[in-house]
Amino acid sequence: MAGVTRTPTNLTQGSKTPAGIGASTLRPDGTLKVTGEFAYSSDMWHEDMLWGFTLRSTVAHAEIRSIDTSEALAQAGVYAVLTYDDLPTAVKNYGLEIQDTPVLANGRVRHHGEPVALVAADHPETARRAAAKIKIDYAELPVVTDEASATAEDAPLLHPGRKDHHAGHVPHPNIVHRQPIIRGNADEAAKRADVIVTGEYDFGMQDQAFLGPESGLAVPAEDGGVDLYVATQWLHSDLRQIAPVLGLPPEKVRMTLSGVGGAFGGREDLSMQIHGCLLALRTGKPVKIVYNRFESFFGHVHRHSAKLWYEHGATKDGKLTHLKCRIVLDGGAYASASPAVVGNASSLAVGPYVVDDVDIEAIALYTNNPPCGAMRGFGAVQACFAYEAQMDKLAKALDMDPVELRQRNAMEQGTLLPTGQVVDSPAPVAELLRRVKAMPLPPENQWETTEGADVRALPGGLSNTTHGEGVVRGIGYAVGIKNVGFSEGFDDYSTARVRMEVINGEPVATVHTAMAEVGQGGVTVHAQIARTELGVQQVTIQPADTQVGSAGSTSASRQTYVTGGAVKNSCEAVREQVLQKGRLKFGTYHPAWATAELLLEGGKVVTDGGEVLADIVDVLGEESVEVELEWRHRPTEAFDLETGQGNGHVQYSFAAHRAVVEVDTELGLVKVIELACAQDVGKALNPLSVVGQIQGGTTQGLGVAVMEEIVVDPKTAKVRNPSFTDYLIPTILDTPTIPVDVLELADEHAPYGLRGIGEAPTLSSTPAVLSAIRAATGLALTKTPVRPEHLTGT
């Protein structure tokens, strides 16, 4: 596109080594990123572009009596001011599953920070000042902020007259979706229990806290369409939601992925996409929108806060008898991914354990709190925090080692899940616990040096709050289960276009997908797959865009599995065509062309016995081979709405953690010393990336254990800490040593036997840290994050 700079380019990586799957090849964009050269979406520029700004509601729930934009429009440098009335078509809402989210508020705002108006101006500061001149007359309405207020008889309805596909089966219109899972008879089974433990748990609202704020550039095109460059997780899902609002056919909204600075689920929903396009089409000029950190806290959905009630029973030898639980997720004002989060929370509520008799219910609420949706771990995180706390509690009641209790109940291959689905690939839960427990422990009093205490190794760090006084060590364990891929009958496919040709006398592969590279390393792995399947050294990864079929979302730990699977599948098709050309050209020279299993290796066609039949260069000559194919994993089924039965999931991912913490019990400060992890990854396509993902997920779980929470005022439903000053994420001094033990037990149903890995470590990290803090303090600690107040009774 003429005039746009800092947009994505091809990533070409050659390799002198095989560098296929199983090698720790480096990221093709890694050097750019660590040297500050990488073009993130906020870096894009167009010579005559305007800047867009979004005016957001300052209250959580109100009727909009009037909006006066006249002063803003009169300001010099302002090109457009848009409100709901300016939306061009009858489609004025969007949403991932339920189209309940207004592009701009329609007479009512339902949460703090909801978009109300848009401004385009020639400078970002001009746009901001003009927006400040828009006068909005709000008549505040009462807020609902929890289950009691949302489901009260006279509760104000967030979305009156719901017609979505969940509306018919929910017990209250302020409940987005409800999923029970009933199997066996929990009440009867409870009678067999020698010990029953119950608990009530609170999980705080977590933010994805990606470092690259929401941003994009919309450029109007001569054909009346628009070219949109944006940082997102799923281009085609965005497109499906954007085009109808603009009144354009999908092919006239051409999307290209720009540099993504982290996602973690927070870019599954739209942010500036429609707004930028509306302003560009209205003004006829390119429009760039970049949120600042404050706005980013309102610009994406968060992880659901949750209340969880659990009851476990066990016989005196530690076998679980039954599970009853109820999980209430706060979905906030709009549905986003809430229904699917409910599905995960309920179907994985039991954890990686065998329990035959269960009575599970999960719901998501509509409230006036900030909308919540996808985040790494997606419903399984909240459940894991609660069931792992319960396992510790049960072990204590049984006077049993908590790891042994878990191992006695650990699921394995062949286990029947509460949904009636059989776990049909390795599930080494007991083994992961054994491995993580067997790792050596960090030394006691590890802060002591010959020159006194090293405060950096103590709670409080350089804030110098203790030199060892009041410090107690605790050790805790946890294990979790996460589904991989989209579940519940979703057609979860991906598409890959692969071309093979000769350039400068060398066979070269080009891989083109719409996969959003958000840091997970898909661009690295796709090149590795192409090298393995096609025997080339040099692979070019083209920028992701909508000129190729959908890759599905970069979420649910699915991209290496699904788009990796699609790349592998397309490579195989390319290989078959190359071999076919070879047979036609050279088949008469050697009988093996017809009889042997043929491979492409080291630039040559070889037999499975290693005999070279031809150079790929000679086979291809001037021709190229290109295919674009969709690829699907095994289909899944919806869960029954009454019983929750159904083969809902594709694959599972398991990780176990051991946390070692030092707690300053007087000040209530925590230093996590070590978070050891053991995880089964099926097959490590890139071992370095695998360890990086596990360490990243572990750290994100640590964050929610001890510091991360979006604090919402229950009286006003307003966010109290929308900044990195007051929403804290772990620094390097908060991040412990993370030794990782990678197990590779192949899943025969998956490409190369791999398992999606990105989310599982986020699950068990949090409860392991909580467990360790409980061990150090003897406190019950039923809420994340643990705050100094909780540890000191203040």
């Binding site: 950096r456 409080g460 350089l462 709050t465 620094t731 705050r787």
Partner: protein, 300 residues
């Protein structure tokens, strides 16, 4: 927003006289945050970075004259012996990058109760050197500097040039509670300095009252107990009951609020713990014969 860039201190004073609403900016680690959050849009910003003198310090016989813009990193690296409490406090300021930019002048100008330097300045004692074009130099004792939430004793036409701090004659300590182990705003903080030459103790409390405050009752109680027991001479350990009482009085000097960073009750509690611990460290250090100030902490 106009940007003023005086080339000299005299030009800066003149500009401040002409534009009393001008907000001085040096490291920008406070001001830029306020601007980025849209909390303030000053009519004039006055960049003091061309005035090199502000980044210099002089060590005299008894005092250090610390330029308003001397970065925290320099204090940590060069003034640890003379200003041990402030050096420890400097360690807790944000990140290395911000410590390379920010200085004590910004903390004093903003006068937020959460400024990390304040407890150390109060415990040390000292004076703030401010100046105006109209009235020249004025020395404001640190005890009289903090007037209210983000309000100090300066006139609109004045600028902070330096702080004058006595060189430590006894051990000093500083502790700060935050809910992460680095780069965090204080939930509350405590500074303590022993002044053996006058047989006095001074303290400073941060983020636990509308302004940084001293725990004067605690200081007086402790000084009396030390005097009475002949501790200054004998170096005998401080009785646990004395430390406990000192801690309680320090808690009592707090007048905190509940906010998103911490509860009032916790702040009172934590200040007491920090008071007891830091007293232990400075007294151990004092007893440890001539060793000044750094306690057992290793802060490299």
């Amino acid at each position: 927003m106009d940007f003023l860039r005086p080339a000299s201190w005299e030009e800066a004073l003149a500009a401040k006289a002409e534009h009393p609403t001008a907000v001085p900016i040096a490291g920008g680690t406070d001001v830029m945050v306020e601007i980025n959050f849209d909390h303030r849009r000053p009519e004039y910003l006055m960049d003091l970075n061309r005035i090199g003198d502000l980044r210099e310090w002089e060590t005299g016989a008894d005092t250090v004259r610390l330029g308003a813009s001397v970065p925290y990193t320099q204090i940590m690296e060069n003034l640890r012996a003379e200003l041990p409490g402030l050096a420890l406090a400097s360690h807790t300021v944000a990140s290395p990058q911000i410590r390379n930019r920010g200085g004590v002048g910004g903390n004093l100008g903003t006068a937020s109760p959460a400024g990390d330097a304040h407890p150390a300045l109060l415990a040390s004692g000292g004076e703030v050197e401010v100046e105006s074009a109209a009235r020249g130099v004025r020395m404001i004792p640190i005890d009289e500097f903090y007037l209210g939430v983000k309000r100090n004793a300066m006139e609109q036409d004045e600028l902070i040039r330096a702080v004058h701090l006595p060189k430590a004659t006894g051990p000093q300590q500083f502790s700060k509670v935050g809910t992460r182990n680095a780069m965090v705003i204080a939930v509350c903080a405590f500074g303590i300095a022993l002044h053996p030459e006058t047989k006095t103790v001074r303290t400073g409390i941060g983020s636990a009252a509308p302004t940084p405050v001293r725990a004067k009752e605690a200081e007086a109680f402790l000084a009396a107990a030390l005097e009475e027991g002949g501790h200054w001479e004998s170096g005998a350990p401080v009785a646990p009951s004395v430390a406990k009482q000192f801690a309680q009085l320090a808690s009592g000097a707090c007048n905190p609020i509940d906010d998103v960073r911490g509860s009032a009750k916790y702040r009172r509690h934590a200040v007491g713990i920090m008071a007891r611990r830091t007293l232990g460290w400075v007294w151990e250090s004092y007893r440890g014969d001539g060793r000044t100030a750094q306690g057992g902490a290793q802060c490299a």
